[in-house]
Amino acid sequence: MNESTPPPEPHSGQGMDYSEIADVQDVHAAVQREKREPRVGREPLSIWLIAVYGLAVFFGGAYLGRYSGNFSGEALDPYGGEMATMKKITGPQGAQQAAELSPHDRGKKIFAANCQTCHQANGLGVAGQYPPLAGSEFTTGGSRRPAMIVMKGLQGPVTVKGQKFGAAVMQPWDKTLTDQKIADVLTYERSEWGNNASPVTAEQIAALRKELANHPNSFAEPDILAVPADEDLPGAAPAGGAPPKPGEAAKPGEPSKPQG
C-alpha cells in the first residue's frame, strides 16, 4: 500500500495498522507544530446580549400568548376565538351569557350571516329575484307560514305584495340552523322593518321540525298557501286546537298577538 510513496522509510507507521509507532516524533509533524489544546476564557456577559435575551423571551412569550388558542386542546384557531365562543354558547354557563342578548338581537346576527345576502339588510329583497320580508304578508301573518319556509326552503314562482318572483330558490335551513336560531331569526324578521308580529320560540320550531321530519326538501307556493294565513305555530301539537301554547306563555313578549 505504501510502495508508491516517494521516500520509503522503513520505520514509518503510515500503514493503517493499529500498532505502535516506532518514532512518534518523526511521523507526527502535524502534532508537533499544532497549537495547544483549546482553553476557555472567562469574559463576562455583555449587557447587549442580555438585552437580546430579553427581547427573544418577550417576543416568544408574546407570540405564545397571542396565538395559543387559549391553550385549549380543541382550539385549532390560533386566536382561540371561534371554537372557544361556540363552546361557551352550547355550554351551560355560556347559555346565560348568550341570554343577555334579546332574541331580536340574536336574530339580527343570524340574519346578517345567513339571510341578508338575498333578502338584503333592509328586508326589501331584490325586485324580481328575492321577495321582500318587510311588510310581506307571509312574514307578518301567522308564524306557521314563515317558519315552514325557513325550515324547508321555497321553490318555484311566488307572489309577494302583488309582485311575482320566481327566479331564485330558497334553500332549506333545518339542517344548518338550530331550533333556537331559526326561532330567533323569525322573531327578528317579524318585528323589524316596521313588521309587528308575534315572536317565535325554539319549542315551537322543535315541534314543527318533528312534524316536517319526513317532508321532502322544499315547499312550493301552493303548499304555503294551503296553510291559513293567520295560523300560528302551536306549542306542541300539530295543526289543531293548540290550547295552551306553552312556548308563547313562557315568554312575556310585548306584542302578544290576540290571534288563535
Binding site: 505502535e20 516524533q25 507526527h28 483549546p38 435575551y53 423571551v57 385549549s72
Partner: protein, 493 residues
C-alpha cells in the same frame, strides 16, 4: 495502560513539558487511526452515492420522465434513498468519526475498546446498506428520515448502542479536571441520539400512536435529529477547531454554557410549525414557533462567542483549510437559525409550508452548517491519522468554492422558488399546476447547484483517496490554501 508503553503525562505535571504533551497527542492520534478512518472512509463512500442519488432526484423534478419506467428509480423511492444515505450514511458516519477523535483528544487518553467502534462501524454500514436496499425495493416506511424498514433500523440501533457505550466508557477514563465545551456537546449528542431514535421507532412502528399524532412524532424526530444530533456534533466540533487552529482561548465560558443549555432546552421543542393549519391544537404549533424564536438565544450566544474568539484572526482563513470550512459552517449555523425563525412564523409558515423553502432550510442545516464543519474537521484530522499532508492546496480550494457556491446557489434558488410557489398556491385564481410550473426555473437552478456540489464531492473523495493510499505530501508544513508570504505565526496551522 497505554499500548506503546510510553508514560503519559500525569495531570499533576505542569504544562511546561511541551514535549510530553506532543507525545501524548501523537499517541492518542495513533490510537484513533483505525476506527476514525473506517468511519471516514465509509462516510466518503456514502457521500458519493448520496450525491449521485441527489443529482438524479434533482433532475427528476424538472425532467420527470427520466428513467421513470424502472420501479426502483422512481421519485418516491430515490428521494428517501438520497435523504437517508446522506443522513445516516454520510453525515452520521463522518460526524461519529470526528466525534471519536475529539473524544479521545479531549479526554486526553488513548482510545480504549477500539473493537466496539469497529463493530459499530460494520453494523452501521450494514444497517444503511440494508435500509437503502429496502427503500429502493419499496419497503420504505414513509416517515421523513425514518424511511428505513424495521430490519435495517434494528441493526442501526445495535450499531449505535455500541458506539454510544464506547463514548460513555471513554468519558469515564478521561484525564484532567476540565471538561471542555466540545465534550458537553459530543456527550450530549451521543446520549440524545439513542433516545430520539428509540422514541421515534417505538411511537411510530412498535406501538404506533393514533392518527394525526404520528405526524407530530415524525416531525419531532426529524427536528431533533437535525438539532440535537447533527447540530450538537457540529457545534462541538466548531468549538474545538476554531480556538485550536488560531491558538487562542474561546472567548467566554459563560457564553458557552448559556449557549449549550439554551440550545438543548429550546431547539428540542421546534418544528411543529410544519403542521401549521393542520388538525392540531393551536397551542402545539404555537409553542414550537415560540421555541424557535427562543433559539435566537443560543444562536446569538454561540455566534458571538465564536466571533469574539475569531476577532483579529479572520485573515487566517486565507490559509487554513480547516478554519475556512469551520468558520463558514459556524456562520451558516447563524443563517440557518435566522431563516428558521422567519419561516416558522405563522404568517410565513402558511405560505412556505409544503414548498421548496423547507428543503432549503434542511440543506442549510445539514450541509451549509454541519457538513462544512465536518469537512473542516476532516482536513484537520486526516493528516494526523495518516502522517501525511494533503497533497494539493488547489484541490482543497476548489472543494471549498464548489461547495460554498453550490450550497449558496441551492439555498437561494429553493428559498426564492419556495416563496414564489407558496404565493401561487395561496392564489385561488391559479390552478395548482401553475404553482408547480412557477418553480420550474428555480428547480433547474437547483440542479446546476447540484452539479457544483457533485464536482466538489468528487474532488474531495479523490483527495481523500490519495491520502488513504499514502500519497499525501511528506512534509513538516501543512498544506495551505494560499502560499504563506511571511513565514511566521501562520506556520502553526
Amino acid at each position: 495502560m497505554n499500548p506503546a508503553g510510553i508514560p503519559l503525562k500525569e495531570p499533576s505535571v505542569s504544562a511546561a513539558a511541551g514535549d510530553t504533551e506532543q507525545l501524548e497527542r501523537a499517541l492518542i492520534d495513533a490510537s484513533t487511526r483505525v476506527p476514525v478512518l473506517i468511519f471516514y472512509t465509509s462516510a466518503m463512500a456514502w457521500l458519493i452515492l448520496g450525491t449521485l442519488l441527489a443529482g438524479f432526484v434533482s433532475f427528476k423534478l424538472h425532467t420527470p420522465d427520466l428513467l421513470s419506467d424502472i420501479s426502483f428509480l422512481t421519485w418516491g423511492r430515490v428521494r428517501p434513498a438520497h435523504m437517508n444515505v446522506m443522513v445516516y450514511g454520510w453525515a452520521s458516519m463522518a460526524g461519529i468519526g470526528t466525534a471519536i477523535w475529539l473524544m479521545a483528544r479531549l479526554c486526553r487518553t488513548v482510545l480504549r475498546y477500539p473493537l466496539l467502534l469497529v463493530a459499530g462501524a460494520v453494523f452501521w454500514n450494514l444497517g444503511v446498506l440494508l435500509g437503502l436496499g429496502g427503500i429502493l425495493l419499496g419497503d420504505s416506511t414513509g416517515y421523513q428520515w425514518l424511511e428505513f424498514p424495521s430490519y435495517a433500523a434494528i441493526i442501526l440501533f445495535v450499531a449505535y448502542t455500541l458506539i454510544a457505550s464506547w463514548a460513555v466508557l471513554m468519558f469515564r477514563f478521561r484525564r484532567g479536571e476540565q471538561i471542555y465545551i466540545s465534550q458537553w456537546y459530543l456527550l450530549g449528542a451521543f446520549l440524545w441520539f439513542p433516545w430520539l431514535y428509540a422514541a421515534g421507532q417505538l411511537m411510530l412502528f412498535v406501538v404506533p400512536v393514533q392518527g394525526v399524532l404520528q405526524a407530530a412524532v415524525g416531525w419531532w424526530y426529524a427536528n431533533n435529529l437535525l438539532f440535537l444530533w447533527f447540530g450538537a456534533i457540529g457545534l462541538g466540533t466548531a468549538y474545538y477547531m476554531i480556538p485550536k487552529v488560531i491558538g487562542r482561548p474561546v472567548y467566554s465560558y459563560h457564553l458557552a454554557s448559556i449557549g449549550f443549555w439554551s440550545y438543548a432546552l429550546f431547539s428540542s421543542w421546534t418544528w411543529m410549525q410544519r403542521l401549521v393549519d393542520g388538525p392540531f391544537p393551536a397551542w402545539m404549533v404555537t409553542a414550537s414557533i415560540a421555541a424557535t424564536i427562543l433559539t435566537l438565544i443560543p444562536v446569538a450566544t454561540v455566534g458571538l462567542n465564536h466571533h469574539m474568539t475569531m476577532q483579529g484572526y479572520f485573515p487566517l482563513m486565507r490559509y487554513s483549510p480547516t478554519l475556512r470550512f469551520t468558520v463558514f459552517g459556524a456562520m451558516s449555523y447563524t443563517v440557518f437559525s435566522l431563516v428558521g425563525v422567519v419561516i416558522s412564523l405563522r404568517s410565513v409558515a402558511g405560505y412556505v409550508n409544503f414548498t421548496e423553502a423547507n428543503i432549503a432550510y434542511s440543506h442549510l442545516g445539514l450541509y451549509a452548517f454541519f457538513t462544512m464543519v465536518i469537512f473542516g474537521s476532516m482536513y484537520y484530522i486526516v493528516p494526523r491519522l495518516i502522517g501525511r499532508e494533503w497533497r494539493y492546496g488547489s484541490l482543497i480550494k476548489l472543494h471549498f468554492w464548489a461547495s460554498a457556491y453550490g450550497i449558496g446557489l441551492m439555498t437561494l434558488m429553493l428559498l426564492a422558488g419556495g416563496f414564489l410557489q407558496g404565493a401561487s398556491m395561496e392564489n385561488p385564481s391559479l390552478a395548482f399546476t401553475e404553482s408547480v410550473e412557477s418553480v420550474l426555473p428555480y428547480l433547474r437552478g437547483r440542479s446546476l447547484a447540484g452539479i457544483l456540489l457533485t464536482v466538489s464531492h468528487f474532488i474531495f473523495a479523490y483527495h481523500f483517496g490519495l491520502m488513504l493510499f499514502g500519497l499525501g505530501r511528506k512534509s513538516t508544513v501543512p498544506t495551505f490554501l494560499n502560499p504563506v508570504e511571511a513565514e511566521g505565526a501562520e506556520a502553526h496551522i
